[in-house]
């Protein structure tokens, strides 16, 4: 009773990747275990915590609620893709480092991808809007205050009004 395997072509962080997976393979598992992109984390596998959030054609999606086969022909961006090609931190990543926006780091990739998309839609969020932007992701460590600060700081870094502490202007996600 071997499972049928399907050929899947995914574009992840701008690179075309080919893999053979069963139809039931979750996108989160395909990214982590088949493509070794372990930056995407799985916290609940029922779409509530948001740790596994990746950008699918620029939109934040819970990769634990998608099959790998349904991501064919999509552009996927994971946390690994938020870093500049020279290895420098992107603005959201930089903001988290400056504002102590993370502790254990497990939920962080989902916040980074979510905020990256959020700031593209709303580049100058108010504090309330910053809270709203991260209101669908769970974090058990930080109490969120520094995550909200990180959103505001990232907005400043993106529009150039903030001075990055280590001269990084990270890659923009398409």
């Amino acid at each position: 009773m071997s499972e049928e395997l399907l050929d899947v072509r995914l574009t992840v962080n701008g690179v075309v990747r080919e893999l053979r997976v069963p139809a039931r393979r979750l996108l989160s598992d395909a990214l982590r275990h088949d493509l070794a992109l372990t930056g995407t984390h799985v916290g609940c596998e029922h779409g509530v915590c948001g740790a596994c959030t990746v950008l699918v054609d620029g939109r934040p999606m819970r990769s634990c609620l998608m099959f790998a086969v349904s991501a064919v022909d999509s552009e996927i961006t994971t946390v690994e893709g938020l870093t500049g090609s020279d290895g420098s931190l992107g603005p959201v990543q930089q903001a988290f480092a400056e504002c102590h926006g993370l502790q254990c780091g497990f939920c962080t990739p989902g916040f980074l991808t979510t905020i990256t998309a959020g700031l593209r839609d709303n580049p100058e969020p108010s504090e309330d809007e910053a809270r709203e932007m991260v209101a669908g992701n769970l974090c058990r460590c930080t109490g969120y205050a520094n995550i909200v600060k990180s959103v505001l700081r990232a907005a400043a870094l993106r529009d150039g009004s903030g001075t990055p502490s280590s001269g990084t202007e990270g890659a923009e996600v398409p």
């Binding site: 009773m1 071997s2 499972e3 069963p22 039931r24 393979r25 598992d29 982590r32 275990h33 070794a36 992109l37 372990t38 930056g39 995407t40 984390h41 799985v42 916290g43 609940c44 596998e45 029922h46 509530v48 915590c49 740790a51 946390v79 690994e80 938020l82 870093t83 290895g87 931190l89 990543q93 988290f96 480092a97 400056e98 102590h100 993370l102 502790q103 254990c104 780091g105 497990f106 939920c107 962080t108 980074l112 504090e127 809270r131 991260v134 209101a135 669908g136 992701n137 769970l138 974090c139 058990r140 460590c141 930080t142 109490g143 969120y144 205050a145 520094n146 995550i147 909200v148 502490s165």
Partner: protein, 824 residues
């Protein structure tokens, strides 16, 4: 000039990899290698005898390599898992088997273990296992456990695992002689650590060398190492445990070994291939551990000022189905209940009871939130009865700054005296009152009332024994590159140890912060360690790292003095360079490291300087007697007793008159954890703790039905706070009363934020509503029900008030409904 790093808000070094998605959590280990995956069949019943297990057909599933039940286990593996912390009063301690033998005692207990090529296939195989059960009546909740109509374990009478009594003074006599007494019955429900990353273990057996490497998401790598070696019949030297990045612990990962923590290594050895187990969220809910559930009965006697003369507490602690972690939690509750106060006499009795639910082991706060809740409810009740301000009643009961060290005459969780080392509680309270605006609150209440809004203010004080022994150690090595490698054995779950320990080493050694690299929780680097619990990492490993760095420094000075032909006391180490004060003569630490290790063979330019024709006095041994080659320092810190941190929280809440929704308007924290290594990290710990506390007080509970089914075992149903549920801003003020017990004056800070939450919210909601709050957590629907329960027709209310015997001199009218607690 090297800047002093201790006390600075240094950005965390570990963030660089976390932010790039380059963290290595346990499920990331060996990805891309030929790793097998495990899945576990868990009991769907809370209490049942296992009549038969049919695994036929499981191995027919394509990709399945192994299926085990208890019958397949032999030797130590077939015995119950260890009882980690024995205690003479734990007369009926019970632990589970790695795979259930004959009986299951909670929904989620492991019954069978399957290994397959991937997790999907392993779960397919698990679903093929057929188990025949004979149902037994489940015991769920403390009431059922106390009633003991049914037993969890046949051979444990009354479901009582342990009974412990402690007394300081004669509490009964003090109560009898007291001018006023009160009785309170208080309840607190279950919650759980619930880290974002669940449990997980990976093991690789090296068939060539007969050695095992285990990666596990734990709070004690040395504990797991010892347990795995014992269970698998291996020498300690054959087992290494590496703690990778850990996605949160909050206590639950201090328990060990989990069944999977020994089954995975056993399977890896049996199959000769690496095996991985990563639990899913439902498994974490039903087969890891919970905490908190207790019921308390309090009797307190006090004088006209509210001074406690006698306190008698009897409580019942729900320890779930097994007691692997002993009775540490109720011991902590029974001792830390005292907080910053000094009752005239105190007696406490607890019973730790079995129920057919997930076992109970420490969750951040570890028994303290319950104790704090009980004591602070008692303080509020005394204030209400006397018609006094709640802060005044607390003030008259405080241990005063000149009374330290203060011995409570009790034995703490570590078997040592409960003796507080230092603190300044009156100063903390003064700061808290300013921060929350305590004295201005009545005016605010009136203003809000004018708008038809209902607000209340509450406060709660706690003392936390931190930095519990027995010990931690550290190793510091200066490499010839000048880089400093530091290892300590306890583990890290997000506290920023790589940063704060580097800060300590940078100062002690006189090197740039950037040149220090810290490794934690790797038994290959530091095999002697205990673990990360009881807010002990900064105190224990921080002190050990400091001492080890000083040892390395001594050696640096000795070698450099010889090389520079100067006296040791004339040397300074700044930015990794040793120089002779007032001269140009200097030598960098990398060169000192080269000189510390006399060589026969050169391998690069630097090492040439240490070879036999370059250095050394031909008349002396190349390595002096009593010295070792290499530039290293190793030391251990083992304090006589814990150091006691303290703090106070206050909150202003608004309760909706119609919906009973509870909103947080202001939250203030004053905390004293001695000297701060990194204030940014300490504040992060407090903010996180407060958020967890909000969850514990207002949202989270484990909803078991009468059959022992956990009805809310998902993030959809168990309500953890999102950003929308926590206070937008927390006002934080610090007090730094150094601990005299360790070289850096540090006290622990990790758990503090969560300790007073149930207490402070109960206090504020009671203040807003004028209804006694005696059970936590509290939801809007429960508050709504309480309102209806207490909404009595006006004439009945008047009669009740008149009939009540009250010792209060001037009871404020609004508190008239609080008299459900008996006064006499």
């Amino acid at each position: 000039m090297t800047t002093k790093m201790f006390g600075e808000k240094v950005q965390r070094v570990e963030d660089q990899r976390f932010l790039r998605g380059k963290g290595r959590y346990v499920d990331d280990v060996l990805v891309g290698h030929d790793v097998l995956h495990a899945a576990v069949l868990r009991s769907p019943h809370a209490h049942a005898r296992i009549v038969d297990i049919d695994v036929s057909g499981v191995l027919d599933v394509d990709g399945v390599l192994l299926v085990w039940t208890h019958d397949d286990l032999t030797g130590a593996m077939a015995e119950p898992l260890p009882l980690l912390i024995p205690h003479p009063q734990l007369t009926h301690g019970r632990t589970q088997y790695a795979l259930a033998k004959d009986e299951v005692n909670y929904v989620g207990e492991a019954i069978a273990f399957v290994v397959a090529t991937d997790r999907y296939v392993a779960e397919d195989a698990v679903s093929r296992i057929r188990v025949e059960y004979e149902f037994l009546p489940p015991v769920v909740g403390l009431q059922a456990a106390r009633g003991a109509a049914h037993l969890v374990h046949d051979d444990v009478p009354g479901n009582v695992a342990a009974r412990l009594e402690q007394e300081n003074g004669d509490a009964r006599a003090a109560l009898d002689a007291a001018p006023h007494t009160l009785r309170l019955n208080l309840d607190i429900e279950r919650s759980a650590s619930m880290p974002m990353e669940g449990r997980g273990t990976v093991a690789r057996w090296d068939t060539d060398t007969g050695r095992l490497t285990v990666w596990t998401s734990t709070q004690t790598s040395t504990g797991v190492r010892a347990a795995v070696a014992a269970k698998l019949g291996l020498d300690l030297a054959q087992v290494e445990v590496v703690t990778p990045d850990v996605g949160g612990g909050f206590g639950v990962k201090i328990n060990h070994p989990w069944p999977e923590e020994v089954l995975v290594p056993l399977a890896a050895r049996a199959l000769g291939r690496p095996v991985k187990f990563t639990e899913d969220r439902r498994e974490h809910f039903i087969s890891a551990a919970h905490e908190r559930a207790q019921v308390h009965r309090v009797e307190v006697g006090y004088d006209d000022e509210g001074r406690i003369l006698g306190l008698d507490v009897h409580f019942w602690h729900d320890n779930g189905a097994y007691t692997p972690y002993g009775i540490v939690l109720p011991i902590i509750t029974s001792t830390q209940l005292l907080g910053p106060y000094k009752p005239g006499a105190y007696r406490v009795v607890f019973e730790s009871l079995y129920t057919n639910t997930v076992m109970v082991t420490p969750y951040r706060g570890a028994g303290r939130p319950q104790g704090c809740y009980v004591m602070e409810r008692t303080m509020d009740a005394i204030a209400a009865a006397l018609g006094k301000d709640r802060t005044e009643v607390r003030s008259v009961n405080f241990i005063q700054p000149d009374e330290f060290p203060y011995d409570h005459g009790l034995i703490f969780q570590d078997g040592r005296e409960l003796e507080y080392d230092s603190g300044d509680y009156p100063a903390s309270l003064a700061k808290l009152k300013t921060l929350i605006g305590w004295d201005e609150f009545p005016a605010f209440r009136d203003e809000m009332a004018g708008e038809g809004r209902r607000v209340g203010i509450g406060l709660a004080c706690y003392v936390e024994g931190t930095g519990v022994g027995p010990y931690e150690g550290a190793h510091v090595q200066i490499e010839t590159s000048g880089m400093v490698k530091v290892a300590t054995g306890l583990t890290t779950q997000g506290q920023g140890h790589a940063t704060v320990f580097a800060q300590i080493v940078a100062d002690a050694l006189g090197v740039p912060f950037e040149s220090v690299e810290v490794v934690t929780g790797d038994t290959r680097r530091m095999p002697y360690a205990v673990g990360t619990y009881a807010s002990r990492a900064a105190v224990m490993s921080g002190s050990a790292v400091h001492l080890a760095a000083l040892r390395a420094r001594e050696k640096v000075l000795k070698i450099a003095a010889e090389a520079l032909e100067a006296a040791e006391e004339d040397l300074d180490i700044v930015d990794g360079v040793v120089s002779v004060r007032g001269t140009d003569a200097s030598i960098d630490l990398g060169t000192v490291a080269v000189l510390s290790n006399p060589l026969r063979y050169a391998f690069d330019e630097a090492s040439k300087a240490a070879t036999q024709f370059s250095v050394g006095d031909p008349g002396k041994a190349p390595v002096p007697e009593d010295e070792e080659p290499g530039l290293e320092g190793k030391d251990f810190y083992s304090p006589e007793r814990s150091t006691f941190a303290s703090g106070m929280h206050a909150v202003i809440v608004e309760t909706d008159p119609d919906t009973a929704e509870i909103r947080i308007l202001k939250y203030a924290v004053v905390h004293d954890c001695g000297r701060l290594i990194n204030p940014m990290i300490v504040e992060g710990q407090i903010q996180g703790g407060v958020a967890q506390g909000v969850g514990g007080a207002l949202l989270e509970r484990m909803a078991y039905d009468e059959n022992g089914q956990l009805l809310n075992a998902s993030f959809m149903d168990f309500l953890m706070p999102y950003v929308t549920e926590v206070p937008a801003h927390i006002d934080i003020d610090h007090l730094e009363t150094p601990s005299p017990l360790n070289p850096l004056g540090i006290k622990g800070a990790g758990e503090a934020g969560v300790i007073p939450s149930a207490a402070v919210f109960a206090s504020a909601i009671e203040d807003a509503e004028g209804i006694p709050i005696t059970a936590m957590p509290i939801s809007p629907s429960e508050l709504f029900a309480l309102r209806q329960q207490h909404a009595v027709p006006p004439e009945t209310a008047a009669r009740k008030t008149a009939a009540r015997k009250t010792p209060a001199k001037k009871p404020p009218a609004k508190k008239a409904t609080r008299a459900r607690k008996e006064t006499s």
